[in-house]
């Protein structure tokens, strides 16, 4: 084939491709917008229902917008059970678990990313394997252990394990360590800094985005976790917000406007954190999701 013919052919291809490209772009917009509407609809429905007077909630066909707007649903739902208390409990648990995860996982991840030692590769495979370990497999003996310590109905079973690392966060932080050039630490070590000093003064400032990611995931886990609080926390005064909402659900089954108000309030902190830390979320999930 001559050069001329090749060029002609590729030009023809380009032309066809650009119209086809435009069509597929239109199609993409249609799908994206329709999908987004579909994904937002449940949230709209929740907020709308949460503001309806109770007699309107079960009307058929339902109204899309509440009228009159019943703001009092919120204070009423939130005082039915002590949601403020639950939120504080959850906050305490998240702060402590984040502290535990960040302090332990950073050091462990540093070891895996930077130091050479016999047995390291095997241990790293073990670490990855434990990421896949189903929680129910160890749930019962761990419960019995905490029971023997007298820790049932306290927050310790939810908090203490965080200080022993978490494979997912260790992996995430290790991946992050690997992207940092070694020059920085080598310079510090030549100046005689110890390992802990190197981590603290040299690496931590650079690692801030990764640590933020761990903190954000930790907050989400504490806010979202249901099975563990369900097993360990029995006093209503100690409930986390998810557990409290579950309890609220089973006790006030029929008042959907209250339930939607309470659900919305439970979701709100997560929504706010998500908007503030979206980048951390998406990078974190992409980092661990792809490079596995």
């Amino acid at each position: 084939m001559s050069v001329e013919a090749g060029r002609l052919k590729s030009q023809g291809g380009q032309l066809g491709r650009s119209t086809r490209g435009r069509l597929s772009l239109v199609f993409a917009y249609v799908v994206a917008v329709a999908g987004a509407a579909l994904f937002l609809l449940p949230l709209f429905w929740m907020i709308s229902s949460s503001l309806k007077p109770n007699y309107q909630v079960l009307e058929f066909p339902p109204r899309w917008l509440p009228f009159p707007v019943q703001w009092s649903n919120y204070p009423e739902a939130l005082t039915y059970v002590p949601f403020g208390r639950y939120a504080l409990n959850t906050l305490l648990i998240s702060v402590l678990t984040i502290l535990g995860h960040v302090s332990s996982c950073t050091i462990v991840a540093y070891g895996f990313a930077r130091l050479r030692a016999p047995g390291k590769d095997v241990l790293f495979v073990v670490l990855l394997a434990t990421m896949m370990l189903p929680y129910p497999v160890t749930m019962i003996p761990v419960y019995i252990g905490f029971n023997a310590l007298g820790w049932i109905n306290t927050i310790w079973p939810l908090v203490v394990p965080a200080f022993f690392g978490n494979p997912f966060y260790i992996f995430l932080l290790r991946q992050f360590f690997m992207t940092i050039p070694r020059d920085l630490e080598e310079a510090a070590q030549i100046d005689g800094a110890s390992t802990l000093q190197t981590i603290w003064y040299v690496l931590l400032p650079v690692m801030r985005p990764a640590i933020a990611t761990v903190a954000v995931f930790g907050f989400q886990a504490a806010w979202t976790d249901f099975l563990q609080p369900l097993i360990y926390l029995h006093d209503q005064s100690k409930y986390t917000i998810s557990l409290g909402l579950g309890f609220f659900r089973s006790s006030y089954d029929v008042r959907w406007s209250y339930l939607m108000a309470a659900s919305f309030v439970t979701m709100l902190p997560m929504v706010i954190v998500f908007f503030l830390a979206q980048k951390s979320f998406i990078e974190g999930i992409a980092l661990t999701g792809i490079k596995g």
Partner: protein
């Protein structure tokens, strides 16, 4: 800071060979010191519980009275005399078989759409991803209301097109599909992963395809899909493992009912352990779960040799 400098001459005096040995030993020590929190956690929260769980599965114990050794009787009951085990395995397997493919194909399709260089990508991505970060219980309670048979959103929408919606979570045939629909609201998570992976495919591959005059369909099959297989594989493993452990939606929305139609396996373990306090039997159930998940994972890993494309092989 001066310390390191004063140490150097003494190190030099000892000769290079020994220095390297002791440095390596120091590094080994440091490595194990660094990972010690995790190693300790591994013993306390993984290895010991797994062994304890195996031992426990040979006993009958309610945590209050004395534990009684029963040999393999828990396993005998599990495999031969407890119809709920089979039921819960069936529910879990059917749900996993339905959910995982829909999640993968749906997430991938959405990601491909998003990857068309459309504007406001960030906004769309946020909207799709938002439901996956919401607290599980609130997510489930909201969907119980959406799936409400009389005044729920879904049946309202269906009524607009003249369909009388089923009774969803209240009907044994429709409860599991209802939970499935619910979970699909969390599809955005896999979409974000695929999208990041799509954006990581080197541009020069597409340029080469364009020069060769390849259309968009062959380009997808010959470049995009093979380059995505490692991510698809990883996501498949995680998705199967996590779907097999479905708990919150079943516990909150249906409590396994109606007629055990949503009795997920982990919900059944939970019941045996924390409602009936049969710690031994629940441990046996948990071990069976572990073996099932292990086998499933190994099967997927083995199959991956056939369909996962690793770049390193090509070089």
């Amino acid at each position: 800071m001066g310390k390191g400098r004063t140490r150097e001459p003494s190190v030099r005096r000892r000769g290079r060979q020994r220095t390297r040995g002791s440095l390596a030993r120091r590094e080994t020590f440091l490595f194990y010191a660094c990972i010690s929190p995790w190693l300790l956690g591994l013993m306390l929260f993984v290895l010991w519980p797994m062994i304890a769980s195996m031992v426990l599965s040979l006993f009958r114990w309610d945590l209050l009275s004395e534990a009684r050794f029963v040999g393999l009787r828990n396993y005998e009951k599990l495999f031969a005399r407890d119809p709920l085990v089979l039921q819960s395995l069936k529910v879990t397997a059917v749900y996993t078989l339905a959910y995982v493919p829909i999640e993968m194909v749906g997430g991938l399709a959405l990601a491909l759409v998003m990857n068309q260089k459309i504007r406001f990508l960030g906004v769309f991505r946020t909207i799709y991803y938002l439901p996956s970060v919401l607290p599980g219980v609130a997510f489930v309670v909201l969907w119980m209301w959406i799936l409400h048979p009389d005044a729920g959103l879904l049946n309202t929408l269906l009524s607009y097109v003249g369909i009388e919606g089923p009774r969803w979570l209240a009907h044994p045939d429709w409860a599991l599909p209802g939970l499935l629909l619910m979970s699909l609201w969390g599809l955005g998570r896999s979409m974000v992963i695929y999208l990041a992976s799509l954006q990581g495919i080197p541009k020069h591959l597409y340029e080469a395809a364009q020069i060769d005059g390849a259309g968009s369909w062959p380009t997808f099959w010959k470049i995009t899909l093979p380059m995505l297989t490692p991510t698809l594989f990883f996501n498949l493993v995680l998705s199967v493992i996590s779907t097999f452990q479905t708990f919150t939606s079943a516990y909150v929305a249906t409590d396994g009912g109606p007629l055990d139609s949503t009795l997920f396996y982990v919900l059944y373990i939970f019941r045996q352990a924390f409602t009936f306090r049969s710690m031994g039997y629940a441990s046996a159930l948990a071990w069976v779960l572990f073996v099932i998940i292990l086998i499933l994972t190994l099967l997927i890993v083995r199959s991956s040799r056939e369909w996962v494309y690793y770049e390193e092989e090509a070089h």
